[in-house]
């Protein structure tokens, strides 16, 4: 049995991505990729998916955001869900919904703490060079560009779905 998480306070987490209104065309699954949990496999897969999206003449800004989000989400799975251990699997599927793209990630690594995707808050950089952060940008970047996000734990797997383009989910900015 999956332990689904629904709409915790102030954070956009849903069990399923809601189809944006007015997008009546059936979603088209572009493809599914399976990769090893290593930074080089992440690089290869991100490049491959980005090239595929460019071939489909999807709007450049959307392709660029998708490339960024793919890299950040996959790096997080490698580093956190699998603690940097290679040799485990990750799948990514990419679905096109009219002008929007849905990226769905699955892995069998550790669950996100409290079953919630990180808030990804970033404080404005100050003048102190020594105090500048060198990490923690990943979830901030993801949340900056996605229009909807959902995470659930299902039969020992993490399922993360990110939507880019289309109307922005009000919960995201809650």
């Amino acid at each position: 049995m999956g332990s689904a998480v629904t709409e915790p306070i102030g954070r956009a987490v849903r069990t399923a991505i809601v189809m944006p209104a007015g997008m009546d065309a059936p979603p088209a699954l572009l493809d599914e990729w399976q990769l090893d949990s290593s930074p080089l496999a992440v690089r290869r897969t991100v490049r491959e998916i980005a090239a595929r999206l460019a071939d489909l003449r999807i709007e450049e800004a959307l392709c660029d955001d998708a490339e960024m989000v793919l890299a950040e989400a996959l790096n997080n799975i490698v580093e956190h869900a699998y603690s940097g251990q290679p040799g485990r699997w990750i799948t990514v599927s990419v679905t096109q919904l009219c002008a929007a793209l849905c990226l769905a990630f699955s892995d069998e690594g550790m669950a996100m703490p409290d079953l919630l995707p990180p808030a990804g808050r970033l404080s404005a950089p100050g003048d102190e060079i020594e105090a500048l952060p060198e990490g923690g940008f990943g979830w901030f970047l993801i949340r900056s560009v996605v229009s909807e996000l959902s995470y659930r734990r299902e039969e020992g797997r993490n399922v993360l779905v990110l939507r880019l383009g289309g109307p922005v989910d009000p919960l995201l900015t809650a």
Binding site: P39, R43, E67, A71, N75, E134, F137, L141
Partner: protein, 114 residues
């Protein structure tokens, strides 16, 4: 991760000869930057004009490279391509670094000042 360096008067120009600075090479990038900036002149200019993509690990590595200068030199950037520029802008790191459009202009400016 390939770096090319040139010392031009008070400036160390470091050109990245790789298309991506990502999680697969961020540590290597940091190490190589540390090697080439051991005794830096007052200004270090990191030219990113060949870098097509930079992720959050790459951004962290650039910040780490600046910190490693330990106040002995400033780290400036040039040639940010659209995807790279967006990462700096979203994280507001564009306010931390002096960012030039083009490394050649900076070098030409040095010659003009001399």
């Amino acid at each position: 991760m390939d770096l090319e360096t040139d010392v031009i008067g008070p400036l160390l120009l470091v050109r990245i000869r790789s298309e991506r600075i990502d999680a697969a090479c961020a540590v290597d990038f940091k190490d190589k930057m540390r090697d080439v900036t051991r005794e830096p002149p007052p200004r270090v200019l990191l030219d990113l004009s060949q870098v097509e993509f930079l992720d959050s690990s790459g951004l962290g590595a650039v910040v780490a490279a600046m910190k490693a200068l330990d106040g002995e030199a400033t780290l400036e950037l040039s040639g940010l391509r659209p995807k790279v520029e967006k990462v700096f802008r979203l994280t507001r790191m564009d306010s931390v670094f002096t960012i030039h459009d083009d490394a050649e202009q900076v070098v030409a400016g040095l010659a003009g000042a001399a």
